[in-house]
């Protein structure tokens, strides 16, 4: 139904979409997830051209809507959009909000629009608020009205731009219920959301957006339970990374510790895990490995903390000849390191820059 070809969106300061190629089928309920700034909202806003793409083509039902001659207003009538900040028309009553577009654009009679509108309001459970004004409603109610307003135009696809992000937790449920209902009824939807649980529940397809495009595309089970690609995994598992490159024996140890403290604070690493990680670094790297290395060395220290699983792993990679720190005679350091870890594994590969790899699972 919708085909997106090499979609690119550039801003003066950033290019959130570098190259997006994807197809959307009828009855798809697609949730779009990913870290901030990766172009999730931009993607759907490029679809209905609220933000016109810098380059690329979009086809809707065989019609190229990125063409200059295309009457975008007409296309938009087939696509509905629900916004994070609801955007109801403040000077109209609720029912007027819903009736406005069908009467003005679809040329429905007022009576017809009214009846259909009231029906929609009933569906979303807000018929009694028909003659209130938007500022009299709660956030969840406003969003439900916004959804009804979009549905009044009988769109073929509805785009949701973080529909529950601006809501208090108590109200998230009522909006999600409506969306779930629509999915059941077979409405084609694209939903940008941060709510993984909901995404998993309601969609048949998940787009993980990263690095300027649809980084990974799969079923909810695929994406959430078994992500294939690195970034996806990290995102799903909410992995936080601390990475440092050391190239000299006189590296700034104090700064390193401060940065490590900062990382731990920001990502809520538990105290004990931090202690042990620090121990792993100090004993293995500072005390054992670095003194062993030749003058021109590189050492990469990478720690990963998974907020989801609450585990810390460290990967120490360094150049030079094969050397396993656990084999060094440094009893003190080794025992301390061992005490702080679940497992320490060393491997050597002559081909990489980092010939030695020590993987530590911190307790």
């Amino acid at each position: 139904m919708i085909k997106i070809e090499h979609l690119r969106k550039e801003y003066p300061n950033a290019t959130p979409l570098k190259d997006v190629c994807v197809e959307i089928n009828k009855d798809d309920v697609i949730t779009i997830i990913g870290p901030s700034g990766t172009g999730k909202s931009t993607l759907i806003r490029c679809l209905n051209q609220l933000d016109p793409p810098t380059s690329g083509k979009v086809w809707v039902d065989g019609e190229c809507i990125t063409d200059k001659n295309c009457d975008i207003s007409k296309i938009r009538r087939k696509m509905g959009m629900v916004f994070q900040s609801f955007n109801l028309f403040n000077h109209m009553t609720i029912i007027e909000n819903i009736m406005a577009a069908p009467v003005d654009l679809l040329k429905k009679s007022s009576q017809q629009a009214y009846d259909d509108g009231m029906e929609l309001l009933r569906t979303v459970g807000l018929a009694e608020k028909a003659f209130n004004y938007p500022d009299e409603l709660s956030g969840g109610q406003k969003q439900r009205v916004a959804i009804a307003r979009t549905l009044a135009m009988e769109p073929e696809i509805v785009l949701f731009d973080e529909p529950t992000s601006a809501l208090d937790p108590e109200m998230v449920g009522e909006v999600e219920a409506v969306i779930r209902d629509l999915a059941k009824k077979g409405l084609t939807m694209m939903i940008v959301t941060h709510d993984m649980r909901f995404a998993r529940e309601v969609s048949n397809r998940v787009f993980y957006m990263d690095e300027g495009g649809v980084y990974e595309d799969g079923t909810p089970q695929q994406i959430f339970d078994d992500p294939q690609k690195e970034n996806t995994k990290r995102f799903i598992k909410r992995i936080k990374i601390f990475e440092k490159l050391i190239t000299s024996r006189d590296f700034d140890f104090i700064k390193f510790n401060n940065d490590l403290d900062e990382f731990a604070r920001k990502n809520l690493v538990p105290k004990k895990s931090l202690y042990r990680l620090r121990t792993v670094f100090e004993e293995l790297c500072t005390q054992i490995i670095i003194p062993e290395l030749e003058k021109d060395f590189v050492l990469s220290f990478q720690a990963e903390y998974s907020q989801k699983e609450e585990t810390v792993t460290a990967a120490i990679r360094y150049s030079g000849k094969e050397f396993n720190p656990m084999d060094s005679g440094n009893f003190l350091s080794v025992s301390l390191a061992e005490n702080a870890s679940e497992s320490i594994c060393h491997s050597y590969s002559g081909e990489d820059e980092f010939t030695n790899t020590v993987t530590v699972k911190v307790k």
């Binding site: 209905n48 609220l50 207003s73 007409k74 938009r76 009538r77 696509m79 509905g80 959009m81 916004f83 900040s85 609801f86 955007n87 109801l88 028309f89 403040n90 000077h91 109209m92 009553t93 029912i95 007027e96 009736m99 406005a100 577009a101 003005d104 654009l105 007022s110 009576q111 009214y114 003659f131 004004y133 916004a146 307003r149 979009t150 135009m153």
Partner: protein, 747 residues
Amino acid sequence: MKKTVALLLAAIMLVMAFAGCKTENETLLSEDSALSDFSNAKIGVVTGTVPAIILPDMLPDAEYIQYTSFTDAAIALESGKVDAFPVEEAVCWAMGWEGLYFDTTKEKIVPVEAGIVFGKGLNPKLQEEFNAFLKDYSESGKLAALHEKWISPTEPEDIIEYESITGSKGTIKVAISGVQKPFTYIKNGRFAGHDIDMISDFAREYDYTLEFHEVGFAAFISGVTTGNYDMGASGLVITEERKESLDFSDPYYSGGFVFAIPKSGNEAERTLEDFENATLGVIVGSIYDGYSREFFPNAAIDSYQTFADLFQCVKQGKIDGFLLDIPNLNAVKRTDPGLSHIEIPGCYVDIGYAFGKDDKGEKLQSQMNEFIAELKENGTYDVLFEKWCGEKEPVGALKAPEYPETNEKLKICLDVSRKPYVYLLENEFAGLEVEIMYLFCEKYGYAPEFESAQWTSGVAGLKEGKYDVVSCGIYITEERKESVNFCDPYISPDVVMVIYEGTEESDFFAGLAESFEKTFIREDRWKLIAQGVITTVVISFFSVLFGTAFGFGLYMLIRSRNKAVSNITKVIFKIYSKILAGTPILVILMILFYVIFGKTDISGAVVSVIAFTLLFGSFVCGHLAITVDSIDKGQIEAALALGYSRNQAFFRIVLPQALKIFMPTFIGETVGLIKGTSVVGYITVNDLTKMGDIIRSNTYEAFFPLIATAVIYFIITWIAADLLGIIAKKFDPKKRKPENILKGVAK
């Protein structure tokens, strides 16, 4: 509630304004006052006296307070409890003996004669005798001598020995009043007075023994009527009523009742020396500015805008005096007798008509010279002069004659603040120069087209060719001759120092009513005000209407998708609104009127509408942009997402919400514009403010016309704001009545 508070404030404002203002009592009571001047006064009358009886009929609107004696009435006058009291002339002289000095009106209320009274028909012989005596007494001059003795400022000292008058024919009992100076009164325990002297002489001559009996007035009348007393004497006034019950002798005294009024203030004559260090008023840049500085180098000079201001200030004492040509002063003095003047020897001005410095102007100049010489020769000028510059105000409007269509049009600028040369009489142009001009046009085949404007505008207009003549009793000076042609002066009146000698006291409310009458009723002046109101309202209305359309149009151009159109409009708008914001609207009006549209025929009113349309349009465009911008963009996006075009989204979603925010400021700016139009008088438009000014110049009243103008503006803006408020309500979607939402849809 709000309206009540507003009304209350308006009332307080009025009262406070008046409390501070000294209203003129136009009828200042003085020796020269006419009886009618007392029509609203508080008059103290002595019960039973002739004036007490007849005055209420003569002056029914006056307030009368009864006193039992003239002394009481006199004391009341001294303390200000009454404005005046009627008193017989002779009696009034005598009051001076007691130290009560008053001025009296020259005009008599009623002439009276005094006679001796006898009981009706009771003693005809005695009457005859007395009348004979009186004839002799009078012919011999003794009566006159007696008058001179007793009707004088000083009290006679000699004592009459009346007790020793005895006669053989019997005793005559003479009733007298003890308190009727100078006729009969008690002095040091004895009786004295004119009548005492006279009757003593009678008794002596006709051989009677004299017995004076001092009685109160009521007893006096009844006593004589019943015959208890043979005669009664106390300077009793002969009246028909009294004649019914009493017989009078022939009259022995002729006098009359006059009004006694408070003695006027400082009578000292002022001279020019008094003005050495005084404060003088002048009109900025006028010929008197120079004269005043020349003649009174040490005086302080205060500058004012109009003659009306100068008159007002000299009355209030803000200035000690100002220079003016005497005909102007005399014309104003007719209604303001408190004004006076001091002569300035050797100071005079030349007055004439002003013409343009071109061929036409020269032609007019020589024609006018010819014409005036003719008028003076055949005496017409003197007739006209007498009419306009005489003692009395001419009655009735000056009707403009009909001129044939073919006559050449003559554009004449009149400054109507110069009585008696040019002014408004019953809303028509009138004055010496106007009538001369009518006649001039008749003779030389012109058709005059008058336009009322300030003389400065007129002179500027002469240069531009806007006017052919400026007529306003304009002073001919060498400096002015450089830019205009003058006819030879037709009058060279003396210049005098105008001063004020009246008092300011008056009854506040009477003064209020009078001011109202002068401002509105007299000469149907309310019509002028109505015209002014219409002008102000029309200019304001069209300025707001066109300004709104213009501003809205500009805004839509700025919004245009076409970059070129949008950018050009933005630049134009920025420049022109910056200019308007930084320049006073008055200056803009004058530039438009005198410079840009100077050579055209466009009227001041049209120029005003243009100027205010530009001004208002600037506001509308700018403010509309701000309010539209303030509408959250998300709603526009939602509209677009639904399939609305940009324009549809603007008109359906953004504009209704923007207008709601826009309206309050719009109403405020409209009110500001209405008030702002008050300066259009400077470009010859007769709006409400200008009309108030014109009335001020004619009535020489300051406060009432001004306060009235302010109140009318207040009312106009109030109505405008209310009307716009009703419209504004229509723009507030939330204020819609529930029934009106979704009309026609079954719910």
